[in-house]
């Protein structure tokens, strides 16, 4: 039976063959978005639901010093409800936070944020996008009025120039990377901006090896050069944008000479990149964490938006602004309102008309104040007294791990709802075992806005239950105690029907019946609407209908190398693993990549006497980890690259919690470290 891959945001369609309690093989049907292709994670990594580390029954403990006690669902849910209600009564909604999961379905995210907003009166609702594309979301929303890829994946076949910035696409979105590389073989050009020699850099027609964290300077310099050379799309800028003059003036300091000094890319190459991007008719920008995970993440994403507007590359086929989303349903989680400032459909919490719509639908009054963002919630412990955390492992994924652990130690009440034990489970008071993607129905929305079905192929193990059921049951108890309305649904499709009623302008035409054959892309207001492929063809989703330039300026990273910590640490991902590693390291994939390897440039290795494969220590101001050195010139001199999937050697013990002022994303991509030999 067909379902959707639970790993990255490409949303590949898969057909796992299951026999005798294991996966025999995984084939892919010839339909969008992957047309039969898969990567190693989708092909060989779908067996984590069979892991021995599955959580099988609800567990509770009153105090962290006690051991967990197995309890019935009724007891676990009653206890959780009573604790949340007690905090609500004593400290008010500000002391509660609810984190829906971008790994769960749209229906589940919708219900979870509804529980937070309609029953607990809190907008402290957020999800892991805070740590990945929140910077893109801020920039795209304020400039264009929409936070997603503007163009569909199949536009790759119409693109003549790819500008890929800070995306290790061959490892993190392999199926999209294969398409882009094939298009390049057909004759398209590809500019890759990355400090590392990634698979994309290898396939590029022009590779700009920038110094980590200097993308913004490069992009602004490209814009300035395009203006100077008269290569910009004047008609487009006049007709479809605003804020141009002020932005243009802000580019003054970004000369090619200065850009070369800051980024270490030769100015001729920067000029060439700018010229290619501006003069190729269909030029599409693609980016990921290399842009966003900086203290200037929002500014860097904005610089890309500005550049695309300047060259008229938004609102047409084969071009656009395309942030590649990292989790199976991270697009959907945002769409469903798992954010502190917006309700489902990106309707602003602070907007009275938007609140009225949901107040009428849910029959309750809503909190008009935007809530705290995930990184801020953890900082606000113990004023925040209770967190309901679903499908997320912040101990592995948040920066500055030791600090976060201390915060969690101080949190009076933590509910963890997950399918597998992870590094955060030991901090919980209540553990609720959830069903995996193979064990429930629902929908995920992939990186190009395609809503796709997941289907129940198996029964959940032990007493595990689908997240929607758990949230609904908890909501029932909260609603009863609070005297608020709470609808009980027979299943995911009925919840989806409420979503369609809530945000008909984007989801009204998406029905389970239509999703039977293949996914449908939003916005899709009516059932006879095919779903919008390219956004903003006629107008932008802003009050004026025009896109807005925002001036952005280069600032150095929060922590720069020093004598004591002479290297720049950049964290990221590898092909065989996914995020906190909870899924991939409990699958067949662990065999292919069992332990952390840290990339060290040969010149640095030679200076320090470090051999390939030698176990070393990586040390920052915040902690140290042990790792095997992979001596390779994939990573430039002075830079150390560490994937963060490995709980026993967590790269995020080293990273710092310096945050972007707009998106509150941590600076995962730049920290100062030193390397120590073991003896």
């Amino acid at each position: 039976m067909r379902t959707t891959c639970p790993y990255c945001g490409v949303g590949c369609q898969v057909e796992p063959e299951i026999q005798g309690g294991r996966i025999l093989r995984v084939l892919a049907p010839d339909i969008p978005p992957n047309h039969g292709a898969l990567c190693v994670k989708g092909r060989f990594g779908l067996d984590f639901p069979f892991s021995g580390k599955r959580l099988l029954y609800p567990m509770v403990r009153e105090d962290r010093r006690q051991a967990f006690r197995r309890v019935s669902w009724d007891e676990a849910l009653d206890y959780t409800a009573s604790k949340l209600l007690a905090v609500l009564k004593r400290r008010g909604p500000e002391a509660l936070a609810v984190f829906p999961s971008a790994k769960t379905t749209n229906e589940e995210v919708y219900l979870t944020q509804k529980l937070a907003r309609a029953l607990l009166f809190t907008n402290h609702v957020d999800h892991c996008s805070r740590l990945c594309h929140s910077s893109s979301t801020v920039a795209l929303s304020r400039s264009l009025g929409g936070a997603s890829m503007t163009n569909p994946i199949e536009d790759i076949w119409k693109t003549d120039l790819f500008l890929v910035v800070g995306s290790n696409t061959t490892e993190t979105h392999p199926v999209i990377a294969a398409m882009i590389k094939k298009r390049v073989r057909q004759g398209a050009q590809m500019i890759v901006v990355d400090p590392r020699y990634t698979g994309m850099a290898e396939a590029a027609t022009l590779w700009l090896r920038i110094r980590p964290g200097t993308d913004l300077f490069l992009l602004n310099a490209m814009a300035r050069y395009i203006l100077e050379e008269g290569l910009w799309d004047q008609g487009y800028v006049e007709e479809r944008t605003e804020g141009f003059a002020e932005w243009q003036a802000s580019l003054l300091p970004y000369t090619l000479e200065e850009a070369e000094r800051i980024t270490s890319v030769e100015k001729e190459k920067i000029a060439l990149a700018a010229r290619l991007y501006a003069t190729t008719e269909r030029a599409g920008a693609y980016w990921a964490m290399g842009v966003t995970q900086h203290t200037k993440g929002t500014a860097t994403a904005q610089a890309l938006v500005n550049l695309a507007l300047l060259t008229g590359n938004v609102g047409k086929e084969g071009a656009g602004l395309n942030p590649l989303r990292g989790q199976n349903n991270v697009q959907g989680a945002g769409d469903m309102g798992a954010l502190p400032d917006v309700l489902p459909g990106y309707l602003k919490v602070s907007d009275q008309a938007a609140r009225k719509r949901f107040e009428a639908l849910w029959g309750v009054e809503l909190n008009p104040e935007p809530g705290l963002r995930m990184t801020e919630v953890f900082e606000r412990i113990p004023e925040v007294e209770a967190i309901y955390l679903i499908g997320e492992d912040p101990v592995t994924s948040e920066p500055h791990q030791d600090h976060l652990k201390a915060k969690l130690e101080a949190l009076p009440f933590l509910v963890v709802q997950d399918i597998l034990e992870n590094e955060t489970t030991p901090f919980a008071h209540v553990v609720l075992p959830a069903a995996s993607f193979l064990e429930k129905d629902g929908t995920f929305t992939n990186t190009d806005r395609r809503v796709q079905r997941i289907r129940k192929l198996l029964d959940p193990p032990g007493e595990a239950r689908p997240d929607w059921w758990i949230v609904q049951e908890l909501g029932k108890r909260l609603a009863q105690a609070l005297g608020r309305p709470w609808t009980l649904y027979p299943g995911p499709e009925a919840i989806w029907e409420e979503v369609r009623r809530a945000i008909p302008e984007i989801m009204g035409g998406v029905t389970y019946r239509r999703l039977e054959s293949e996914g449908v892309r939003w916005p899709c207001p009516q059932e006879d609407h095919p779903g919008e492929a390219v956004l903003f063809r006629e107008r932008f989703n802003t009050p004026s209908g025009k896109a807005r330039f925002f001036p952005v300026h280069f600032t150095p990273p929060a922590e720069t190398p020093s004598e004591e910590y002479p290297f720049t640490l950049s964290t990221g991902r590898v092909l065989f693993h996914w995020h906190g590693g909870t899924l991939s390291r409990n699958s067949q994939l662990k065999e292919a990549y069992p332990e952390l390897k840290v990339e060290v440039n040969p010149k640095d290795a030679q200076k320090l006497g470090i051999g390939d494969g030698e176990v070393i220590q990586v040390v920052s101001r915040r902690g140290r980890i042990r790792a095997r050195a992979w001596v390779t010139d994939r990573t430039p001199e002075g830079v150390v690259y560490a994937p963060f999937h490995f709980a026993e050697a967590p790269a995020n013990r080293l990273t710092l919690d310096a945050l972007d002022p707009f998106s509150r994303i941590p600076e995962y991509k730049v920290a100062a470290v030193r390397l120590e030999k073991l003896d």
């Binding site: 093989r25 292709a37 294969a178 094939k182």
Partner: protein, 200 residues
């Protein structure tokens, strides 16, 4: 444009492959692997000439025959040859074709050079390369290379009957650029490449 297929008039769009109109038996053709015209099973008769349907575009006024006695004999011989030299035990669709063509491989006696003796190669955590079952259709090579991935971890080595896909210089897969996407496994029509999870 109009053409005749087995005596019947047909109207098709320009650029249509004969394979898409006539559906003869075929083996190496795969829409995404971009492999064309190797296995010869899909040969059809076009105005008296034999052409592979998977590489031939329909043209105005063509007369195409897909099921002449000569073609059946040719296909039968090709299938017998495959069955003679290759382990088709995990290729049920080929075995069915052989049966449908009344193939009797044993009528050729035995061949001295056979791929059947090749040992399966188990050099990675995900899938097996069992070239005793390989019919050299090249789908895996092309899926890995130009067709889908652009990785080029597979190539064709050897000559004549002993030619078979493998890695460059026969290195173990983990020492090649292989990314273990398994797209080669998905397009393999004979079970020569198969997931380890299918081995009991």
């Amino acid at each position: 444009m109009r053409l005749k297929v087995n005596g019947h008039e047909a109207e098709v769009q320009e650029g249509t492959l004969l394979l898409e109109i006539t559906d003869p038996p075929h083996l190496c053709y795969h829409p995404h692997a971009e492999t064309r015209g190797l296995c010869r099973l899909c040969l059809v008769e076009v105005d008296g000439r034999l052409l592979p349907a998977c590489t031939t575009q329909a043209q105005e006024g063509m007369e195409v025959r897909t099921d002449t006695e000569d073609l059946r004999i040719l296909r039968r011989t090709l299938l017998e040859w495959l069955a003679l030299t290759t382990d088709l035990s995990q290729a049920p669709s080929l075995l069915e074709l052989l049966k449908a063509h009344q193939g009797r491989p044993q009528r050729w006696g035995s061949v001295s050079l056979s791929r059947r003796e090749r040992e399966p190669i188990r050099d990675n955590p995900f899938f097996l390369r069992d070239y005793a079952k390989c019919v050299n259709c090249r789908r895996c090579v092309d899926a890995c290379g130009d067709g889908i991935m652009g990785v080029y971890a597979l190539t064709l080595e050897g000559k004549g009957l002993m030619a078979h896909p493998t890695t460059p210089l026969d290195r173990p897969l983990p020492e090649t650029p292989c990314v273990f996407c398994g797209n080669c496994v998905q397009v393999c029509p004979t079970g020569a490449l198969r997931p380890l999870s299918m081995e009991v």
